[in-house]
């Protein structure tokens, strides 16, 4: 079956402004958007640039805006969409080329919340054990694949990209609510800063955009409650 794809193109080395290029692809029933992009790149236009790696919704490389919504190209099947399919880079990030965006700032913000277990000063040569109940408390927090779909859908981030953003705050929650972690106070300085937790306006775009059905807004609200409880 033939389907048309209207793909965002931009080459920083040419003087041409960004534009959309339409490709017609003979797709198979089981194809994802990524399969179609691969077919374009391998059979029609080798100059098309995009990121992909795992092809299984795990690495988070292939997030892009498809028909107006942030999606993982490797998870979204072509047959679920009608008409011409519009493919654009993630909004809110600087476009480097075609569908490739600059994720530098995004990962800088993830790093700022110290996304690792801060388990006190007592070194141990054993594993730090956690009960199944305590482990369960991390459900909905640990599954983030860092694709950037949430942060890129956040209007607060669009207007101020110094804002930590939902992905970094979800990552902070993943460690702050880990019963083995003792780093909440270490992270508080960043979370309670002007560009931290308080710039979220509970718009819920991040919840809608997350391809893993996570809820960064809820994580932000829980972090706020914990911060307020610690400070007051």
């Amino acid at each position: 079956m033939e389907r048309q794809f209207k793909v965002f193109r931009y080459d920083p080395e040419s003087s041409k402004k960004p534009y959309f290029q339409t490709y017609t692809v003979d797709v198979q029933k089981s194809w994802t958007i990524l399969d179609a992009l691969n077919a374009i790149k391998w059979e029609q236009d080798g100059s098309l640039s995009y990121r992909r790696s795992c092809r299984h919704g795990i690495c988070g490389s292939c997030a892009m805006k498809i028909n107006g919504k942030n999606e993982l190209a490797c998870e979204l099947q072509v047959f679920t969409l009608k008409g011409v399919i519009k493919v654009e880079p993630l909004p809110g990030f600087e476009v480097l080329r075609d569908l490739v965006t600059d994720m530098d700032r995004f990962f800088g913000h993830i790093e700022a919340v110290k996304p690792w277990l801060i388990a006190g000063l007592s070194p141990t040569d054993k594993e730090r054990l956690q009960s199944p109940e305590d482990r369960k408390k991390l459900d909905g927090l640990y599954e983030c694949i860092l694709c950037g779909a949430c942060t890129s859908s956040c209007p607060s981030y669009w207007s101020n990209d110094d804002f930590l953003g939902p992905a970094a705050l979800l990552k902070a929650a993943r460690y702050c609510f880990d019963t083995r972690d003792e780093g909440f106070h270490e992270r508080m300085d960043v979370l309670n800063s002007r560009n931290g937790l308080w710039r979220c306006h509970t718009i819920f775009n991040c919840v809608e955009a997350c391809p893993k059905d996570l809820n960064p807004t809820e994580a932000i609200v829980r972090l706020r409650a914990r911060l307020a409880a610690e400070k007051i």
């Binding site: 207007s159 101020n160 110094d162 300085d189 309670n192 308080w198 710039r199 706020r224």
Partner: protein
């Protein structure tokens, strides 16, 4: 790229203040509306309002109401500015000074109207 945490107001305390004043403003607005428009018989007249506003209790209530409105409203404005406009330090300090000056000016204007008021 390193995270820019930013300095100055915008943390927990101000955020909480915005929520608390918001919650307090709801019954305050309701009380104001009932007392002014429903509690009075027939029409609102200058004499009726003036008589009430001149009492010490109502002076206190009105100053409290004024403080809530100014704090809540202007922090709202500052919050919008922080969301995108006030990115560069010089611009941010200028806008912050304007917001604070406007707030103080409105508060003083309110005080000089409410405190010496006689029926």
């Amino acid at each position: 790229m390193k995270f820019d945490r930013g300095h100055g107001s915008g943390g927990l305390n101000w955020w909480l203040m915005q929520r608390v004043t918001g919650i307090l403003l709801l019954p305050a607005f309701l009380a104001h509306y009932i007392v002014t428009h429903i509690g009075t018989e027939h029409f609102v007249t200058y004499e009726k309002v003036a008589e009430r506003v001149a009492t010490p209790t109502w002076k206190f209530v009105n100053i409290f109401f004024l403080s809530l409105v100014i704090l809540h409203g202007l922090y709202g404005v500052w919050s919008v500015l922080l969301d995108g406009w006030a990115r560069k330090p010089v611009l941010r300090i200028t806008l912050y000074s304007i917001v604070v000056t406007v707030g103080l000016a409105l508060f003083v204007l309110g005080l000089v109207t409410i405190l010496p008021f006689k029926a």
